[in-house]
Amino acid sequence: MQTDNINFQDIWNNKNAEIPNIQEIKSTAEKYRKKQLISTILLMLWLMATALGIIFIWNVINFKMVTTSLGIILILIALALFLCLFSQNINMIRKINPSISNQEYLSSLKKLQRQRLYMQTKGISIYYILLSFGFAFYFYEFTLYMSTIAAFLAYGLTFLWLAIVWFFLRPRQITKQNQKISKIIDSLETIEKDLGESKFDI
């Protein structure tokens, strides 16, 4: 092989591939658009259902005590929050405008990942707190009609479960998210470092 003066250009241009049908692009774009629309509609519907549920429970069902209604409402809010956190993981990346420079794009990606990290770790804790308070309020009215032992059992078991979730499940979920997202941020930082590197040794 001749290596004294390699013409990389020619070697590079030698790579060939068939151009796929343009129709594929158009149908994929349409598929994305529909998927995006459907997921937005579903999220809106779920949030509206939550809101209606809250109004319904507050005004129509006649619990004797406010705490019961408040309990259900807190549980509903927790579920809505969970859904928001879940949907946050999907398609957020596509929302960043990709026609900016690599440098700007990398820093937007990093910002997005930092936001995600915050939401995923703090959000999970807020979800469990809301759920715990929801259950605590919800059970109150019912336990008034129970014997002391039954009431103790109802609260005891529920909170035992919540304690397990809070002390074992939650830290694991958080660690998992943390590791996953931190790894991405690290890779992004490595690339970013490369952006400025050669300035210093011209």
Binding site: T3, A17, I19, I22, P98, S99, S187
Partner: protein, 164 residues
């Protein structure tokens, strides 16, 4: 102002973008997927393209950013190794020497750091250094230094490859 036609852009740029993606991932199917993603975005955004940059710069920015965001979507893609018939010259001779060198070049490029892959691919696509700087977001001087270093690295690799 001349109206931009998606079909024209598609046919003019598809092969170039494919080579760029191929240099980034060195995997034919993955490169095709990245290429498709790029043109989906181009198709969606074309009506809103305001010509603040040239069409080429705009498309290359989209393509390179889509390559870069792979980091977020999944773990780094596995690189395809050189297959045996490339490593062993005597075994199968139906593949031309030129093809082997091309495969080797794409493999070498895909092993570079992410931004270097982008810079050298754009250079090999005969883009002006000032435009490369615009795509990547670094100074033209910086681009020049990078290209010089990458070419040096590649030449060394090619020499080792030839001397085996």
């Amino acid at each position: 102002m001349q109206v931009l036609n998606f079909e024209e852009i598609y046919h003019e740029y598809w092969k170039r973008i494919f080579r760029l993606c191929m240099g980034y991932v060195n995997d034919h199917d993955a490169a095709k997927d990245l290429c498709q993603e790029t043109f989906v975005v181009v198709f969606q955004q074309l009506p809103r393209f305001r010509r603040e940059a040239s069409v080429g710069t705009w498309i290359y920015r989209i393509a390179t950013n889509i390559c870069l965001r792979q980091i977020n979507i999944e773990k780094r893609m596995p690189k395809s190794e050189l297959s045996d018939d490339i490593k062993d010259n005597s075994e199968k001779d139906y593949k031309l020497e030129q093809d082997k060198m091309t495969d080797f070049l794409y493999q070498c490029i895909s092993e570079l750091p992410e931004l270097d892959r982008i810079v050298i691919s754009l250079e090999l696509e005969e883009m002006k250094q000032a435009e490369i700087a615009e795509v990547v977001g670094i100074t033209p001087a910086n681009v020049r230094v990078k290209i010089h270093r990458i070419k040096e690295k590649l030449t060394k690799k090619f020499k080792n490859y030839a001397n085996r």
